[in-house]
Symmetry: D2
Subunit: 347 residues, 4 copies
Amino acid sequence: MKKEPVYYSDYLSLGNILNAQHLESFKEGNAAHDEMLFIIIHQAYELWFKQILFEVDSSVKIMGQPNINDNTPELQTVVHRLNRVITILKVLVHQIDIMETMTPMDFLDFRDLLRPASGFQSWQFKTLEAKLGLQYDERHGKEYYTSQLQQPEIDVIKKAESGKSLLHVVNKWLERMPYFDNIDNWKDFKVESNDANIHPYWSTYRNSYSNSLAEAERNNLDTFNAIFIEGKEDGQLSAKAKRAALFIMLYRGYPIMHLPFELLNNLLEIDEQMSTWRYRHMNMVHRMIGMRIGTGGSTGKEYLKAALDKHYIFKEIAQLTSFLIERSKLPQLPSSLIQHLSFNMPE
Amino acid sequence: MKKEPVYYSDYLSLGNILNAQHLESFKEGNAAHDEMLFIIIHQAYELWFKQILFEVDSSVKIMGQPNINDNTPELQTVVHRLNRVITILKVLVHQIDIMETMTPMDFLDFRDLLRPASGFQSWQFKTLEAKLGLQYDERHGKEYYTSQLQQPEIDVIKKAESGKSLLHVVNKWLERMPYFDNIDNWKDFKVESNDANIHPYWSTYRNSYSNSLAEAERNNLDTFNAIFIEGKEDGQLSAKAKRAALFIMLYRGYPIMHLPFELLNNLLEIDEQMSTWRYRHMNMVHRMIGMRIGTGGSTGKEYLKAALDKHYIFKEIAQLTSFLIERSKLPQLPSSLIQHLSFNMPE
Amino acid sequence: MKKEPVYYSDYLSLGNILNAQHLESFKEGNAAHDEMLFIIIHQAYELWFKQILFEVDSSVKIMGQPNINDNTPELQTVVHRLNRVITILKVLVHQIDIMETMTPMDFLDFRDLLRPASGFQSWQFKTLEAKLGLQYDERHGKEYYTSQLQQPEIDVIKKAESGKSLLHVVNKWLERMPYFDNIDNWKDFKVESNDANIHPYWSTYRNSYSNSLAEAERNNLDTFNAIFIEGKEDGQLSAKAKRAALFIMLYRGYPIMHLPFELLNNLLEIDEQMSTWRYRHMNMVHRMIGMRIGTGGSTGKEYLKAALDKHYIFKEIAQLTSFLIERSKLPQLPSSLIQHLSFNMPE
Amino acid sequence: MKKEPVYYSDYLSLGNILNAQHLESFKEGNAAHDEMLFIIIHQAYELWFKQILFEVDSSVKIMGQPNINDNTPELQTVVHRLNRVITILKVLVHQIDIMETMTPMDFLDFRDLLRPASGFQSWQFKTLEAKLGLQYDERHGKEYYTSQLQQPEIDVIKKAESGKSLLHVVNKWLERMPYFDNIDNWKDFKVESNDANIHPYWSTYRNSYSNSLAEAERNNLDTFNAIFIEGKEDGQLSAKAKRAALFIMLYRGYPIMHLPFELLNNLLEIDEQMSTWRYRHMNMVHRMIGMRIGTGGSTGKEYLKAALDKHYIFKEIAQLTSFLIERSKLPQLPSSLIQHLSFNMPE
């Protein structure tokens, strides 16, 4: 059966896309030139949010499987797609330059017509935060964040919050790391510090870490115990998952560790780009409206600043950096384990 | 009368924008993940093309008036809006990074389903080129460029081609520069080289230019005569307009010359950004399909390369750089003229 | 006299530049590959800081004259050079991407060898902050900020702090704005609100501003009075200077206001780029060392975060945005004044 | 033994770096403000070229070993360092924005003082091209390219040209790919097209490729034979190496193929960034001097344009894209081979 020919305009639904700009100020008969920019830049942001959600959804789906076989391309795919998310976020940060070509006086020409519409009503952005792993309890302005949304939009966000987030499935995936459970992997391991309650690798590592601390850093050891041994820290990653993540960072040089390391790194990079976006956005809003009240009724900069500080999603992974030690001081892994971290090359 | 409240999703027509992605590969039941990216990035490009067209249209409208009063904000407005166009173009160049996250193998998964759709069918881009000043006769692949478009789209392009372009109205505006016609402005001018057929300023300037040339550049003088005196060069700018543009570049330090200089500079910057976009786009296509044939039937890189070299729109302005001389060698303007280039400040 | 020929390598002193990388880890015989990057990126930053200082110095010199004649190119020059500073700062922000290619584990390989060297010891950066207008009393970590510098470096910073900063000379320049003092300029002004103690323009403007406030913004009026009338606010800009700056923002459409508006805008953009740089730098340090102690002994992220919040230099200008009103509500300037804001064009 | 404390200024040799700007125009007593920028931007470029050379040298060293064990971190290291090179190149492209803040008139103020210095005399850049793999015979303007260099600089370039380039060692590394030689790997392979002179995999692949071609692309098959079978194409990659590279692109999903794929991709990205740099640089020179003659005596834009077209270094790898086929049509690899492409995971 022959396929119908496809034409560019139809394929891209340009009729819908290019006729979706309805300027309030033009309706009022008092055309404000810059309102077109205001609409189009927000539409461009929302298009890209859709794309990011599409990539995050597919990453959650892959990572959320009961098991991921490292001999399939699945981890490659996730790393690649999160890299794409990062690339998109960098463009979104850059895109703020365009918004900044609108001066405060030009915004004033149509600002009052928009009430109570507000960027805070981007349900896609809130859904994205939730799907990455931001929990409702961690949100700044909890009561407020859905107050102006319509029910179907709220439903989408709530569904994302109650579903498995990327952070959640990464936690499960980290917990499944198999190397510590099998005692055979460790029979040749050179234990340097023994603690009956702890896996010999981790008591040895803790010892090395302790030796690496400067005087003023001594209480980092308590934090080490709280995080990796006692699992006392609040948060979404278990002590077991954190140990696995630290292990990946320390031994990223082994073949099977490479992609997991890239994955963790991509999560940190996503947080960093999102926070850079929030920061530049906050500054831009401040420059645009100063201490006036936002169109959606928020107090503008103050709200954004609080969200900026609280909405780091992968901070538990970022925190692990504090517990690395020099490569030359790393415990040597036993060869029985190393073979499981390696390619099965011909003799 | 109270205005209806405005909500973000409605205001931005997000229903239309976010439901406009119809993946061919999903219809075929053989979902190609990266087709979503392919659609969304093209939609984002088209949204921004709409914005650029909006700014260019408003600039043509202002510049195309029979007269522009320098004591109104109109020239400021045009410079500001063209600056915005430049800022957008920079983001569009950056956006190619996103497209490059699609590997050739991933594109192959859905490429055949798109025929004969092709980026060459972007009527907005062709309209933009025409509105800036690209003439039909200058196009690479003239016969080809509308062959796959629908009649209403062709009509838009043809209308843009037959209307006044930005280059056209800039030419007229430059020709109206009033300073040379009034002999009173020049009565104190120190003529250093006399030529009965030429305004004393330009015979003097030509003399200085001639003195500035290195041995190997001697025939630049012939080009100078051809361009500025005889008006022999083909092109869309008259000799009179080119003299005015050169004068602006040389004396940009006088208050009334500042914005005209910025305007000319912005036109060059638009050309540069568009050519950088074309260049990166060409490389990206080459990396994606090599020497295969494009979905629209073009020969890919070769077509793009030819267009790259031919589609400089403001090249006649760029060319003027060859005819500048050192500031310290510039003919001194007479005070009778200078007062017309200055602010009317209180004593 | 014939000039000596100039060669690229000599002209650029490449011998000095390219032999200035002395890696501590190579001395120790334990070469850490990434130390080269660490040195070169800091050297690149310092080169650019030198360039920025060069531009800021020249801007302070021009703006610090007893009078600036708007019919000279001087203001153009300052705006152009500050634009260059902004362009450089954008590259410096981008440059953090390069630093981020160094992983925490790779930094650990040579980090201990650097003590107590630290980026906090960049005397050029501190000098830059001072020359822009950051005052000693506003610095975060006052006691600390010169503790590890050598005396000649401290002297440079102290000299910058005691000299005229860009903010200082801009304040003086704003205060000299002549339009309000001459009563003749205002004889046709339509006063809408009279207050014997205030210039009729500002009582009228205050009235319009008051009318523009939403209910929840009512106390903005008190701030308006404190800032523009009573001059109660602490800071480096006087009430008179702030009124002039606001006037520029409101009437930027008049020819003589255009460059002053660009100048104020550039100052805000410099602050924004510097704060974006600080923010990305802080995140990068956090990712690199977590909650370990910096090589210079600082507590890393916490120090940087406090500086980020305090070191906005032109915040008094940024704040003015809160006091703008819609263009259509602006008091109409009298024609006797307008002629002084305009070009002296021929009839 | 206690180490000496290290101070920032000393560590970075800031004395050398920040006193290496000697402006010709200042010597002449006719200070041209923008000459400082001109010097500093070139110094910044040269610093970064040193860093790029450092990364390329280390990559050549690793890749040039007689054998690379995929179970060491060596390939990871090379991919990581080439990624850094790409990140630096992106900043270098961006840096052209800074140069463009210098107007042609401002350059004219000191341009004549520089003769015959010229950017063409950057021996580091030429060395970089040679170390990546640009051969002397491929250079545009062969006779010309060292004409103004000093002997020690020429020696460095010549040594780089006669040594092993990155392209050379990559070719050798590709040729060593072991999978085709061992017949046991292929015993279960489903041959679809037999050709006694060709490995069964490649006759089968050729058949699939042939079937994928559109009518107008039929002669791609001849090119396929010339490149992959007969090895008739000139160039630095052998037919064997090209087959290996194509195989990597096709089967990047298998674990052991992931880093080789990233490596090839990075080479293409380096070419792309370098060509983008050359393109923007060419446009910038054109805008700066038009059709005047460069300070080094070159004909400016024309030279740069010719170099742009000829200096693609990894074009033989880029070309492979033309010979990919859809993933669903790929020959299925035999399980005896697949195990050698996989991790050695516990049962």
